[in-house]
Amino acid sequence: MRDVAETVIGGLVVGSVYALIALGMSLIYSMSKVINLSQGAFVVLAALTGVSVQHSLHISGPALLVVVAVIFAVVLAVVDLAVIRPASRRASPDRMLLITVGLLQAVGGFLLLRWGNLPYTMKPFTHTAVVTVLGLRLSTQFFWVLGVLVLSLVALWLLLQRSSLGLKMRATAQDPQAASLMGVDVDKVRLIAFSISGALAAVAGVAIIPLTFLQYDTVVPYAVDGFVAAVLGGLGSSSGAVMGGLLLGVVQGVLQRYTNASLAEILAISSLILILLLRPAGLRGSLAEVRR
């Protein structure tokens, strides 16, 4: 029983990262109908940037979260300005997916050049690495990851539902043309969406790296799992993204614990394909978008 509980909590932690990736993808998708497959790659890039920043500045975990989040808010804004915006003026949505495949490849390539092919990790944010709660031995970093997810959700909810910028963003998500006619600067709203997704990727990466090893070729699994979580939840739905991410994390965690890693991956992806074929709208999406 204890073993099952620990496995599920571990799955929730990994799922939190998927949820944060899916949240960023979902946000960008709502604003600009672009699926940013490279979102997962920026998680790894942010994590390794965090390692390097930590190496030179020796700051505390929470401070590191803020620093890297700011850096990646800027990085993704630049990506939007330099890559996505010029491309989306010219390419169809289907081809925009290939643009983000290119970005995914490019980020992986940059990681290989800058950090080489060795895996990196980092010390946990808190000195006592493991605590016992209700008889369960849990890494303290678990709480950081879950806390980061909860805080991000609260901040995102406040922004979208309780601020005038959020109103503009929701208007853009509903109908960009109408929003633009009402005086919303749609380009600026999209830029902000990219910045937010960059910050989400950054906090996900920095929070998870003490629990795992990341290197240039972990970008593809994160990109795929984040994409899976986003579609599982229903593209464009924030609550769906979180549910999809957590569900995927737990399912993968449980399968990995009781079968082998490859079989776990196969089962997880097969069930995703089945869901796509049987209930294509995902947990919280609408059917009309999925089928022709």
Partner: protein, 327 residues
């Protein structure tokens, strides 16, 4: 556009001459391709790999280029060809040629069964479902150790052989790949010019309009998907029998993305586009040992630039540039 219009009827009035000239041009290209291993013997093995990937990418072009949808699952069929060919020859003593054919049929059957439900999905969702196939392919190749040899792969399968003749040397393999590449190119060109090709083009243009005109999108898309799978499977078998080795790395998700990248960079709906894309992506790491490290970054950036600025890929861009110069 208005300056280009008078050129068309002029060319149309002299079809014999232009057809003869293009036939001569094709013959010239074939002769040059046939002489390549004699001129650049050191490049032969590189050219074989290019030819094998060209086959897979050309097949993918039949689906992606003709139906306008992205399939990221080409490695599944490449893997069926490569691993299936390896297992049949190693464990069951099936001749290589028969193994290639059996696996091509098997791939076509799998593609047919998957095609109907999968192709009902729209753009992104089809991309995701096929990406799922790529993930399953890699995981199966890594995890199903008893059958696939796990992470260390499958090795020691024989070279391709017809009867008693074994294609052991690089030039011999090159000519096999060249012959198959030419047959594939001929087939693809034929299909594009046929009613089926036009039906596919109509579906790519506007699926609903095509359906209204009596073209059943599901049937044609499934056929294109099956054809793409068959090409990939044959390419996979050739790959396994040439290298006498196949590992999860050659059927990884990265490789699946690479197939689409090669096609997108080169440009679809032509023969030279896919070839150019494969050449570029395969040549980058070959250029020099230290340069190989830059390959993923450069490939990614090139893809972004090409998709943004050259909607018809590099080859389409070159052609557009040439027409502009000629005017």
């Amino acid at each position: 556009m208005s300056t280009q219009a008078p050129a068309r009827p002029l060319r149309a009035r002299i079809p014999h001459q232009s057809a003869a000239r293009s036939r001569l041009g094709t013959l010239g290209v074939i002769v040059i391709l046939a002489l390549l291993p004699l001129i650049f013997p050191a490049w032969t093995s590189f050219l074989i790999v290019v030819g094998i990937y060209f086959l897979a990418v050309l097949g993918l072009d039949m689906f992606v280029g003709q139906t306008g949808q992205v399939s990221l699952g080409q490695t599944l069929f490449f893997a069926i060809g490569a691993y299936g060919g390896g297992i049949l020859t190693l464990d069951h003593g099936v001749p290589t040629l028969a193994a290639t054919a059996i696996m091509a049929v098997a791939s076509a059957a799998v593609a047919y069964l998957l095609g109907r439900p999968f192709l009902r999905l729209r753009g992104y969702y089809l991309a995701l479902a096929t990406l799922g196939l790529a993930v399953i392919t890699q995981s199966t190749a890594t995890g199903l150790t008893s059958l696939t040899g796990g992470p260390s792969g499958l090795s020691g399968m024989p070279n391709l052989a017809i009867g008693t003749y074994v294609f052991e040397s690089d030039p011999a393999n090159y000519y096999v790949v060249l012959a198959l590449g030419l047959i594939a190119a001929l087939l693809v060109t034929g299909i594009r010019r046929s009613a089926a090709g036009r039906a596919l083009a109509a579906i790519a243009g506007d699926q609903q309009a095509a359906a209204m005109l009596g073209v059943d999108p599901a049937t044609y898309k499934t056929r294109a998907f099956v054809l793409a799978a068959t090409f990939a499977s044959i390419a996979g078998s050739l790959f396994a029998f040439y290298n006498r080795f196949v590992s999860p790395e050659s059927v990884s998700v990265v490789m699946a993305l690479n197939f689409v990248i090669m096609l997108a960079i080169g440009g679809s709906r032509t023969l030279l586009g896919p070839l150019l894309g494969v050449l570029l992506i395969q040549a980058l790491p070959q250029a020099s040992q230290s340069f190989a490290r830059y390959e993923p970054l450069l490939a990614g950036l090139v893809l972004v630039v090409v998709i943004t600025y050259l909607p018809d890929g590099l080859w389409g861009g070159i052609r557009a540039f040439a027409t502009r110069r000629r005017r």
